[in-house]
């Protein structure tokens, strides 16, 4: 479906609808919070019933998420030693490879057995689909790094990590998408890197994005789009079909694991509908994890866990942060939105609508590491983390556009529309309200209790039930702490066990983090959208000690 994926240049009717849908999430969040406060004061019985029902749904969700967090972590662990290159070469000769490997037992370890079983299932699926991929030697990777203020200390390790890939480097093209308004030291760092890696990869070049382009906002998507358009010309000139190109748009601090592109190539090849797919790795924030305050460490580990949980549900998975996709799809949908901040999720919705629902996100159990938001001092880091979370929560800007598209689209099945719309809406609603209800509002019926309420069994039973539910939740916290310790980088640090023990205790800050670095920035973002005070792109502070 041809759809103008933007809030700008709309007809009067669509503009009114857009504005209504912009108001809806914030209004509902405030409605829920203020409604519960109102009920707690004037109808405490009703509030207590709603709050207990919420607590119960929350704990079910926590336990459910914890279960899939563990399973997802196990799968990440299972695939950690997978020889992706060998598998890629296998797909190049699919028939013979399947015949040879189907009856074989790969290793004796349970992890190898499970990995092999998943692999065989994927190969059989590919064979059955008859949508065989191009030969791996003909697949090219385009990597775009949007740059505005990141110097060689941030960008250098990112490119270095790509140069250490197991996948052939001569099938990779690196593009630095440099903002014209970047300061001279940044520009010169990019030039140095380009020079250094020009011969290492198939090519490495810089595209300068003009400071002012009519119709564009000052957002990352505009810069990446400019670079991708130049890259498209490059592939045309080299007679490389877009169908054979996989694009990865990485934040400048993205350090990929050595097998990332081999893993990505495998998933691209094994996916029957590979031209209608994005590929989502698991983001971890290990680049500077020991250099940031404890709360920031917990916040970002929580973000990684969220992605791990989401990875188990490809039907509802939406692209997030650094990810990869078919270049053909990117060109078809006319690149990233040039006027939206949440380009990472917006590109999924844009493609989903463009292909009438025939677009999916394939989870990849491979990590890429980024920086935790970090500034010069503790308070600046607090502000930086808060602003970053607000920017993530600004993904709510997709809601009105997606709903407008769903209302117009006749080809996307109704069930799919309802499923996605509900998840999008409910996700943002619970993001901005759960923390407040769990931390404050849930206790209001008790705090504001009047004599009639204090004389009821409800008054005594609410804390009793809440206590039981929070005790259950502490089990989930225990699992989360264990996984966070397992997921931490294995780099050598002084007093490693002492520091890890300290990190375990940092999880006690979860109630505080839930409110101030999750619910509050989300509510802030929704309120801004509701009031029409649109967010401007703000580049996260990322500092690393040398």
């Amino acid at each position: 479906m041809k759809f103008h994926y933007s809030k700008e240049n709309l007809g009067p009717r669509q503009a009114r609808l857009q504005r209504f849908l912009e108001i809806l999430p914030g209004a509902c969040s405030w409605g829920v919070l203020l409604g519960l406060v109102f009920l707690s004061i004037f109808f405490p019985f009703g509030a207590a019933i709603l709050i207990v029902a919420f607590y119960l749904s929350w704990i079910m969700r926590v336990l459910y998420s914890t279960l899939f967090l563990v399973l997802s972590y196990l799968q990440l662990n299972i695939e950690s030693n997978t020889d992706w290159l060998r598998r890629i070469q296998g797909i190049d000769n699919l028939g013979a490879y399947l015949e040879e490997n189907a009856p074989k037992k790969f290793g004796r370890h349970w992890r190898q057995l499970i990995s092999h079983k998943i692999h065989l299932r994927q190969l059989n699926g590919l064979k059955a689909s008859k949508a065989l991929p191009p030969a791996s030697s003909g697949i090219y990777h385009l990597v775009i790094f949007p740059v505005i203020k990141e110097g060689s200390d941030i960008l250098g390790p990112a490119v270095e990590a790509i140069s250490s890939q197991s996948f052939p480097l001569k099938q990779m093209v690196i593009v630095f998408a440099l903002e014209e308004r970047a300061l001279p030291p940044v520009q010169s760092a990019v030039c140095d890197l380009q020079r250094k890696y020009k011969e290492v990869f198939f090519d490495c070049f810089t595209v300068v994005h003009p400071a002012v382009v009519p119709g564009e906002a000052r957002v990352k998507g505009a810069n990446a789009t400019c670079a991708a358009k130049q890259a498209a010309l490059f592939f045309v000139n080299h007679q490389i079909p877009f169908e054979h190109v996989v694009i990865s748009c990485f934040d400048a601090d993205t350090v990929v694991s050595p097998n990332y592109f081999a893993c990505l190539t495998y998933h691209f090849m094994v996916c029957p509908d590979r031209l209608h797919a994005s590929f989502q790795p698991i983001p971890v924030y290990h680049n500077n994890i020991w250099q940031v305050p404890g709360f920031a460490r917990v916040v970002e580990t929580g973000s990684s866990f969220y992605q791990l949980i989401e990875a188990t549900n490809p039907e509802k998975l939406v692209t997030f942060s650094s990810h990869s996709m078919s270049f053909k799809a990117l060109v078809d949908v006319d690149y990233w939105p040039v006027d939206m901040i949440s380009d990472d999720s917006a590109i999924f919705w844009k493609a989903y609508i463009h292909y009438d629902g025939q677009y999916q996100v394939i989870p990849m159990y491979v990590t890429l590491s980024m920086d935790v938001a970090c500034a010069d001092n503790w308070w600046q880091t607090v502000k930086s983390v808060y602003k970053q979370k607000q920017r993530w929560a600004w993904g709510v800007e997709n809601f009105p556009i997606v709903i407008r598209a769903f209302l117009i689209s006749k080809k996307i099945p109704l069930y799919e529309k309802l499923r996605h719309a509900f998840k999008l809406f409910e996700g943002h609603l619970s993001w901005s309200t759960s923390g407040f209800i769990l931390s404050f509002i849930g206790w209001l019926p008790i705090i504001f209790a009047r004599r009639e309420f204090t004389a009821s069994v409800v008054y005594y039973n609410v804390p009793y039930i809440a206590n039981m539910i929070f005790t259950l939740a502490s089990l989930a916290i225990g699992v989360t702490i264990t996984l966070s310790l397992l997921l931490l980088p294995k780099t050598k640090i002084r007093y490693r066990w002492l520091i890890k023990l300290g990190h375990a205790f940092e999880w006690l800050m979860v109630p505080f983090i839930l409110v101030f670095f999750s619910a509050l920035p989300a509510l802030h973002a929704q309120t801004r959208l509701m009031l029409g005070k649109y967010l401007e792109f703000w580049v996260t502070d990322k500092h690393r000690k040398k």
Binding site: A48, I49, V52, A53, L56, S57, M60, L63, Y64, L67, F68, L71, S72, Q75, T312, N313, P314, E315, I446, A449, R451, T454, A455, S456, V457, V458, Y459, Y460, N461, V462, P463, Y464, I465
Partner: protein, 359 residues
């Protein structure tokens, strides 16, 4: 993984759909009677005791938790509750329980088998007067026999033996509840004296301000937080006396400080509402008694000790101690009425009185 996720999702949804109404019903006081298989209304009894950690038996069955605790799922009607704590008398009552309601037994005072009473001083006194926070003045006719007691245990003489005032005779003592100053009226060598005494100093700082009083006032009082100005009340006028400047000013009665206590009680202090206002501590005749406020089992009276009539008693909230003069000897005694640590009631109940609707 996707199919597993779907299966688990439906299982969890089913569990939620079943559990949620059951838990909400339970929260509202409804339980399924295992005998009749019907939904029945229940009530609960919330019990907190002073001291806490007591064992609760309801209808002869042992409760699961120590006090403070809420006993749930009780059928409407009377339930026999017994509270046991080692060293304390058992507390037994028939408590009415109403469906969907909470019967609150907040700060139930457990009476010790033997009241812990200690002798603070083995010297007889005429009276005790509370001065400032945690300070007791134990008075006697001769000034050298007046002692100061800090309720934490420290004792000292108000006047040293060598003091020029030591041989004087006690007449009256004025104080305000939170001021560290007292004003002592005494006869010293046949002269009527007014001594302004700062108890914050060690030894107490005594200043003779008799020159500021031309005649004997009926009442002297001052603001708790203003230790420079005192107000002397005479039958037809009031003076404000500035002690620092030694100056006397006529005072318009209409412009007296609002916080000034103009009518300090002339009666002995012998009645206290203690235990978060749930228990009355009172001296009736010679006997010090406590009356728990709850009325489920009819009025209950517990005897603590005998105190000299017409003397003051002092209840120290922080430590839960009652200071009094023994009736037989006039010695200063302290009885531990409440445990000397606060009770935490969770959830914080409204403890204005028994709540059950049929009580």
């Amino acid at each position: 993984m996707l199919w597993l996720r779907k299966i688990v999702f439906y299982i969890f949804s089913l569990i939620y759909l079943i559990l949620c109404p059951l838990i909400v019903a339970r929260m509202l006081g409804f339980v399924i009677n295992p005998l009749t298989h019907r939904l029945e209304k229940t009530g609960l009894v919330y019990i907190s005791t002073n001291p806490p950690d007591a064992t609760v038996y309801i209808d002869g069955r042992l409760g699961h938790q120590k006090t403070p605790t809420a006993i749930r799922d009780l059928t409407p009607g009377k339930h026999f509750i017994r509270i046991e704590l080692s060293g304390y008398n058992d507390w037994e009552r028939n408590i009415p329980v109403v469906g969907k309601k909470a019967t609150v037994l907040a700060n139930t005072l457990l009476v010790p088998e033997v009241w812990p009473i200690k002798m603070v001083s083995n010297k007889p006194y005429q009276n005790i007067i509370n001065a400032g926070e945690d300070v007791l003045i134990a008075t006697n006719p001769v000034l050298k026999d007046i002692d100061i007691f800090h309720t934490q245990g420290l004792q000292e003489h108000l006047f040293s033996k060598n003091s020029v005032y030591a041989a004087g005779l006690f007449v009256r003592l004025f104080n305000t509840p939170k001021s560290p100053f007292i004003l002592l009226e005494a006869n010293i060598k046949d002269k009527h004296k007014f001594l302004w005494i700062n108890l914050n100093e060690n030894p107490p700082l005594i200043e003779d301000i008799s020159d500021l009083f031309a005649e004997t006032p009926t009442l002297i009082t001052w603001d708790n937080f203003d230790n420079e100005n005192i107000f002397a009340f005479y039958p037809n006028y009031i003076y404000r006396i500035n002690i620092k400047d030694k100056a006397i000013f006529p005072q318009n009665p209409a412009s007296l400080p609002e916080s000034l206590d103009q009518h300090p009680s002339r009666f002995p202090q012998e009645k206290f509402l203690i235990n978060d206002k749930n228990t009355l501590l009172i001296r009736e005749g010679k006997w010090i008694r406590i009356y728990p406020k709850e009325d489920f089992g009819g009025p209950q009276v517990y005897y603590i000790a005998k105190s000299r009539p017409s003397t003051n008693m002092y209840f120290e909230d922080k430590n839960g101690e009652l200071f009094y003069l023994d009736d037989d000897t006039g010695y200063l005694f302290a009885a531990q009425i409440l445990p000397n640590h606060p009770i935490l009631n969770i959830p914080i109940p409204d403890t204005k009185g028994p709540i059950a609707s049929n009580s």
